[in-house]
């Protein structure tokens, strides 16, 4: 498979315009990557809505868990998928159907998750798609926090960074 490239400006626009994120496959276990990402993104002001039939009706990090995207009573701009690449295809097809009702504009597949055909269908439905990236890592990279852990952000700039707390 070819490597995926996304412009920094494309990712930055998504992260700035998104207010609510439905996180599919979110774990209740605090030391799982999805739980890490949820907690971090909550701290950055996002409304993160966990979706996982295993925990339906319970709470993760203070938010009610829904069994299915269709059950969420509010609108959300992004669906963040913590599932296998095969499962991501089904989730994507469901999101395309729900897009206008829930006002969803972004499908984001986490690190290691990629389904090119599903992505093509979503893009044909005028949605933005990011695959094989972590929302938390991209947020940290573009808004200056990732370098604190010695990670190469790839950003070269003589401008004072805008701090987003």
């Amino acid at each position: 498979m070819s490597e995926l490239h996304y412009k920094d400006s494309f990712i930055r626009k998504i992260l700035i315009e998104t207010k609510a994120i439905a996180m599919v496959g979110c774990s209740a276990n605090w030391n799982r990557p999805s739980n890490f990402a949820m907690k971090y993104l909550q701290g950055k002001g996002y409304h993160v809505i966990p979706v996982n039939p295993r925990y339906a009706g319970k709470e993760i990090n203070g938010e009610q868990v829904y069994a299915d995207l269709a059950d969420i009573p509010v609108s959300f701009e992004m669906v963040d998928i913590f599932r296998s690449s095969e499962a991501a295809e089904m989730v994507t097809d469901q999101v395309i159907e729900l897009a206008s009702e829930k006002k969803i504009s972004v499908i984001w597949m986490q690190l290691g998750v990629r389904h090119d055909e599903a992505a093509q269908r979503a893009e044909a439905a005028k949605m933005s798609v990011v695959m094989d990236r972590c929302v938390k890592i991209e947020y940290g990279r573009l808004f200056g926090e990732l370098g604190w852990s010695g990670v190469n952000s790839g950003i070269i700039s003589s401008k004072r960074p805008k701090v987003r707390v």
Binding site: K39, Y40, G150, S153, S158
Partner: protein, 436 residues
């Protein structure tokens, strides 16, 4: 790929190494606008509240706790090292030796083994061969001239291969590409020490290295002022491809059962090296030393050009000197490593090399004591030109056989050519050699 996807696939402008040596990791300060990187001379950092503190300790959010783990000045150097080497992430340490320890502690368990080139800095041969042994780690040394020697030494316990691509004390280059292929086939990482070459001359990740190590004390810091070390991970090694690396792929008892590779992906190794090895053993880099090193790196490309120009001229001068029996500099056409130098170090094979003085040990001592401009000391990669007799100093702990195999026999003198006027350097060596 759809047309939309193709539009998103842009080839972002790639900044050159001279630009990244100055800018990578170092934007102006977000609050004050300070253009140069401030020295954050602080041990610790306030938490917003108990929840924030818990998130930081759990590694759930990015931020600073205590300068043994992270410090904003050190972070700038770490990101710059990762950028210069074309890696994903870096961790700095108090010295190059400390960076080696962090790397092997993260990789190995008791009874594990690794293979190293026998052509290494003498201190590394001692660290690997003797001190690591006390921790239950076994290093097998092989002659790197034939890459197949690495394959032959691999056993089911082997967890890594370690080489210096441009080997100390000088003149020897390891053919890294076939060694990388052997490591890949065995499912183990190739660790390359790039101290002698610096990322300006060679970027081992481009040739298949998985982890790159540095003593930043040398050419990077560049002025003989500041000790430091760095480990850089490529981000390309698949730690889950076999069951050899449970410390990356299994829940870590020393960190609340966190699984580092799954949670941090392509910067999982450096995160683990920091969160466990650096945390528990403590060889952190001081912010002041990080600052001096950051400042040094800004001029690395221009310094290396001069280091190499001077080294070439000195090597040619010595090659034709009557008191000199041989010169081991891969930039000389007579060197058996000349072709490898052209391939891996096209800008020049560094400025540290050795030569043999006629008359053996006693002559060697006369030369190092006879110089007036060269400094007789145990370091390399300074603005000043340096000279040492390895058999009586850096490689003293080794047996005569080990000394000979490491290229540090009794007649060997090592030079680290600095940035002084070339005529003065030649004048000084010539008068010292006349004493032999």
């Amino acid at each position: 790929m759809s047309a939309d996807s193709k539009k998103k696939q842009n080839e972002a402008h790639k900044f050159g190494i001279e630009t990244r040596a100055i800018h990578a990791g170092a934007r102006p300060d977000a609050v004050t606008g300070a253009r140069n990187t401030p020295i954050y001379q602080t041990s610790s950092y306030v938490f917003d509240d108990a929840e924030h503190a818990a998130d930081l300790f759990n590694l759930q959010t990015f931020g600073f706790i205590y300068s043994r783990l992270t410090n904003p000045t050190v972070s700038v150097l770490e990101e710059r090292m990762a950028s210069l080497e074309g890696g994903r992430a870096a961790v700095c340490a108090a010295s190059g030796h400390a960076a080696q320890f962090l790397t092997f502690f993260t990789l190995l368990g008791p009874e594990d083994e690794f293979i190293a080139s026998r052509n290494l800095y003498g201190g590394s041969i001692t660290q690997f061969g003797l001190s690591f042994k006390k921790l239950g780690w076994t290093c097998h040394f092989v002659d790197p001239d034939n890459p197949e020697n690495f394959r032959k030494a691999i056993t089911s316990k082997t967890k890594a291969i370690f080489i210096e691509i441009l080997a100390n004390p000088g003149g020897i280059i390891v053919d890294v590409e076939p060694v990388a292929a052997i490591a890949k086939e065995a499912g183990i990482p190739l660790i390359v020490d790039n101290t002698m070459a610096t990322p300006y001359l060679c970027q081992p990740i481009a040739w298949g290295a998985d982890i790159v190590l540095h003593s930043t004390t040398k050419f990077l810091s560049g002025h003989g002022t500041s000790l430091g070390g760095a480990l850089i991970e490529s981000g390309k090694f698949d730690w889950a491809q076999n069951d050899k690396f449970p410390s990356m792929t299994k829940p870590e008892p020393a960190y609340h059962g966190l699984t580092f590779y799954e949670t941090f992906g392509d910067f999982g190794f450096s995160t683990k090296a920091r969160a466990v090895a650096l945390r528990d053993f403590g060889p952190c880099l001081s912010p002041a030393n990080a600052f001096y090193t950051i400042t040094g790196i800004e001029s690395l490309p221009v310094r290396m050009e001069r280091h190499i120009a001077n080294a070439r001229a000195i090597a040619e001068f010595l090659d034709s000197h009557s008191a000199v029996s041989w010169v081991s500099y891969a930039g000389l056409k007579s060197s058996s490593y000349y072709e490898l130098a052209q391939k891996y170090l096209p800008r020049g094979p560094g400025s540290v090399f050795t030569f043999g003085v006629k008359g053996g040990y006693d002559s060697g001592v006369k030369v190092v004591e006879g110089v007036e401009l060269f400094s007789h000391l145990a370091n390399i990669g300074d603005t000043r030109s340096l000279i040492i007799h390895p058999a009586s100093t850096t490689h003293r702990q080794l047996s005569e056989e080990q000394q000979a195999k490491a290229g540090a026999g009794p007649d060997v003198i090592r030079l680290s050519i600095g940035l002084e006027s070339i005529d003065d350097l030649i004048y000084d060596l010539d008068q010292a050699l006349s004493l032999v």
